[in-house]
Point group: D3
Amino acid sequence: MKMDEITTNEMREIIKMDPLVILPIGATEAHGIHLPLGTDTFQAARVADDMAERMDNVLIAPALPYGIHSSMRNLAGTINITFDSMRSFVRDILDSFARHGIRRILIVSGHAASSHMTAITEACRSVVSEHDVKIMFVSDYRIVEEREDFRFEGDGHGGVIETSRMLAIDPDIVGSERPKGVFIDSDCVVLRDASSCMPDGIAGDTSKASAELGERMNNYIVETLIGMVEREMR
Amino acid sequence: MKMDEITTNEMREIIKMDPLVILPIGATEAHGIHLPLGTDTFQAARVADDMAERMDNVLIAPALPYGIHSSMRNLAGTINITFDSMRSFVRDILDSFARHGIRRILIVSGHAASSHMTAITEACRSVVSEHDVKIMFVSDYRIVEEREDFRFEGDGHGGVIETSRMLAIDPDIVGSERPKGVFIDSDCVVLRDASSCMPDGIAGDTSKASAELGERMNNYIVETLIGMVEREMR
Amino acid sequence: MKMDEITTNEMREIIKMDPLVILPIGATEAHGIHLPLGTDTFQAARVADDMAERMDNVLIAPALPYGIHSSMRNLAGTINITFDSMRSFVRDILDSFARHGIRRILIVSGHAASSHMTAITEACRSVVSEHDVKIMFVSDYRIVEEREDFRFEGDGHGGVIETSRMLAIDPDIVGSERPKGVFIDSDCVVLRDASSCMPDGIAGDTSKASAELGERMNNYIVETLIGMVEREMR
Amino acid sequence: MKMDEITTNEMREIIKMDPLVILPIGATEAHGIHLPLGTDTFQAARVADDMAERMDNVLIAPALPYGIHSSMRNLAGTINITFDSMRSFVRDILDSFARHGIRRILIVSGHAASSHMTAITEACRSVVSEHDVKIMFVSDYRIVEEREDFRFEGDGHGGVIETSRMLAIDPDIVGSERPKGVFIDSDCVVLRDASSCMPDGIAGDTSKASAELGERMNNYIVETLIGMVEREMR
Amino acid sequence: MKMDEITTNEMREIIKMDPLVILPIGATEAHGIHLPLGTDTFQAARVADDMAERMDNVLIAPALPYGIHSSMRNLAGTINITFDSMRSFVRDILDSFARHGIRRILIVSGHAASSHMTAITEACRSVVSEHDVKIMFVSDYRIVEEREDFRFEGDGHGGVIETSRMLAIDPDIVGSERPKGVFIDSDCVVLRDASSCMPDGIAGDTSKASAELGERMNNYIVETLIGMVEREMR
Amino acid sequence: MKMDEITTNEMREIIKMDPLVILPIGATEAHGIHLPLGTDTFQAARVADDMAERMDNVLIAPALPYGIHSSMRNLAGTINITFDSMRSFVRDILDSFARHGIRRILIVSGHAASSHMTAITEACRSVVSEHDVKIMFVSDYRIVEEREDFRFEGDGHGGVIETSRMLAIDPDIVGSERPKGVFIDSDCVVLRDASSCMPDGIAGDTSKASAELGERMNNYIVETLIGMVEREMR
């Protein structure tokens, strides 16, 4: 069920049933020459949709399609939200959820950069400290990445994982190129223009990507998350 | 063309052609017993889609589906963004547009409450004062409302205009009830709970709504906006 | 009774009687070649004085003579307060009123620009949500403007209404010129320099202004406000 | 000349002559059982008026009648502005002065509490670091207090100095009592309620006050300030 | 006892005994050609150490070695914290103390500039208004300076007092020069570069300084503070 | 060389030689029953001292002994700085360094929590975007932890690494207990009280700790950092 498609009365009834509300957070960010700018949004939205299909009592909030970026910031199409704006905007959304009596929230962020994650974490902490609400905050990308089977050498932003998943989600908006790119560590130097870390705009060898692999990754994420929710969000 | 479906390279090429970028801003807000919470988002998104269909060189940015609310704030499902969060989040989006060389931006807000409009206006002013960019900011709702033919006595939030337009946009998510409601002026008293201004959650007599009327309204908005853009955003 | 002319002991006694406290908010803003920069302050202060004369139990707080401006911002003498400063300064004043036990507040703003009004409204909302206090917030200008009899074609900033009222309030500080000016709509384009909307610095044909008309306007405002206060602020 | 009584054209001409703009800052603050809440505003305004009378090329800006308070904060009628609001409001005023080309500003604060003074000083520093403008910032109270002849044992807030000056400025709003009060040092303990430092609401023996003494004090301030301006603000 | 050298369990036991926690605040600031940049930190730390030696139940928190500066800001090595950063950082420290149940806090600031003192005072006020905690806030420099015996003509920053005290604290980091400098009053003009007030970087005739004198000053401060604590912080 | 022990003139000369300035950032945080609250500060300071001993042209800034905490926040003695305070305080320090012409800065943070790291990173980014300065930002803890030889099962906060290093740095302030603790993953649930993640206050089996191991770790960090600085900070 999607929150934007129901009425306030339906919402009131659903809240009484103590639903799990999923808030997908995406991004508008350069993802190499082959993946669309909305890659992170499409991935997070897909996770939410799949979970809603397999679980009862799930409500999907409208996706927030913007996030915080550093290395991709200067590439055409990357829309960069500052730390404070992101933190307070997400806090406001969560605060409204809590005020309406929602008690179980899952945030799925397609984007996983550390400032982005910290901003959202700070928003969550602020809301859990003020309301009686449980918030689980994950990046679907990190869930895949931590799994042994899905590790590819040097893989990262716009690499095998993201290309495969997008091929499984919507092949029509994936380009035909399969670029290769490296991530160059800055040795802890804080860069003015972090794009030098990824001269090709991606990290990994996307020739290894496939829709089939992406389907398995997407499934793995959904199953993992369903397990986590069942374990922790009762 | 949708920004989230193109790659960074495509974006770079499009920017060279000096596109009009449309940013739809919606809301997640109680809209009576018959309209969905995402009403404002659906309306703004539809305006953007129709404009992109009828004009060349238009690029649609991902819609922001949250806004600032007062009278509906306490009704189930209304997600309320605070003034400062809204202003700075929108400013960040516009700032990124301008940094990438976009010079013509149209913001269409489905929601038209005055704090919401002022927050976005402040964001626009901040960006036009710092960048060489032209921003037109409208509420599609206000465009209809100002037109003599579309005036219905006591019509307002969730009334004839919004019901008609939603019937034209997506009748499947419009309920079958046709409620009637009044707006009760607070005589300039600043209310702690402004929901008392609209005890029925809407204003107007929605029995007068129809898909055909909504179609005409949607067309009128799109034509008006195309005229304004052609006049002012060259 | 003026707040700045009484002692703290007198204040304490007056508060026990549940007074209506009027806070006049003005502006220092260019008002054409014939009206003084303090026009908005003089008008709001006059409304407060007249109300205090005709009602019992009214206390006038010191007028705040600065506000938020856009179209007049670049003309000599316009002092522009930023949105956040205005909002928090007014909030502090209201907060102090409420902490001292004042329960009925009327804010009369001579200036009526939308950012200015929103900033003050936000301040009021913040205070009514935290304290048991009733706040009525009006612009005297808007009260006149909404009245059929006082509508003059194209009239606006520094026009027939403001010139007439200032002639009634203090003719010595009104110049002898009676300029004519038009307001040029920006078609929703957010302007870097909004002064292009009013190339003559005013809107309307001030040759139609007179002290007699201004007297009637001032009376109308005061009577309207007394009615609103009696209806709503008991 | 008062800024609020002149037109924008007159303002533009005056600015060309490089005027000294005086901004009086007052307060609305309990001043014992005999002095009015606006004491600090009346004193600062009087200094400005007298200087304008004795010097050429002086323009008086509208007085800001609110400030920052600690020890008097809880007494009826004290309106307390928070540090950040005060700093940013004054900064905005000064910033507007500077943008219009004003190059010589004198701020006279009737109130002299240390947080109040620091907030205004911070505002001044911010503006002088960004604009080519000279700002002199004084408290008229401190000027008197530092002068040997005007020292009375234990004199302070609402004491001999302030009572005498108010008797010289406007005896009609000075009560007939001549209270005596002591200031009790808190030994550097930061108090939650600082009113315990001045149990009588004033410090000093006001029976020693007189209009004649006040006149001399007021004159001394004006002469001292004229000297400082002539020495430093060329 | 030093807070950084004990464990959390020891801390928990000490808190039960209602200790006096001393927070030394220093600075990194130019202090003439002969005194080290850390002069203010060394002085505050020494006061804390001496008090801990002579009193029971004292716990010393880690010193904060940075502060707010104006006149020395542009000299090599002065590290300047902005007002808001200082205020909120100190508030956070004090807030943590209070949350852990500490009820008696003494802040000793080696640096005594007025913005610096106000920022810390504001932090203290915020914490005492929210927690049941007693905070005494002093500058050791001001304690000496107010004492008749320790007054030297024109003495100030980096002068006889500071040189003498540093000679008593750690002669190895005091240079052999004994400079002479004057403080030039700015006549209340707010300076863009306040270093012109102290062209020699210090104020006073340091040839009068001696370790013996510094020892007496240090003793005087410690005795004075012990007296104040015993009187006020029970 | 320590910044707080040199004069402004010495500082000016050193800056001309383009020194590496090391800013140690520590914390005051519960570290189990055996390690002192200042553990992170002692470790960062030791790294700075060792680097200064082995390299030319190094200047050590005064250590900042406070940081951002979550899981240890409620344990006695943990002093918690909020995100915004930490970010702006560190930014101010770095900004002052840059204004004085320092071009090479190494920040060593003994504490490595993600909010803490992000706050400092944001501060660094702000400064590198405005000044021509190179900043390397590391956590010494993370350097050890990433090294294969120094990995111990389940080791973390207050575990083998930290106990060993403190034994090498200052055995006198290390308690005799050698506790064992586990880290319990919260499965991405954002906790109100994160102390439940470490019920023993530490993670790891500290019976495996030794001064000899700590010495090797400390050496490894210093050598690694010297290599990084030589590679990147020329």
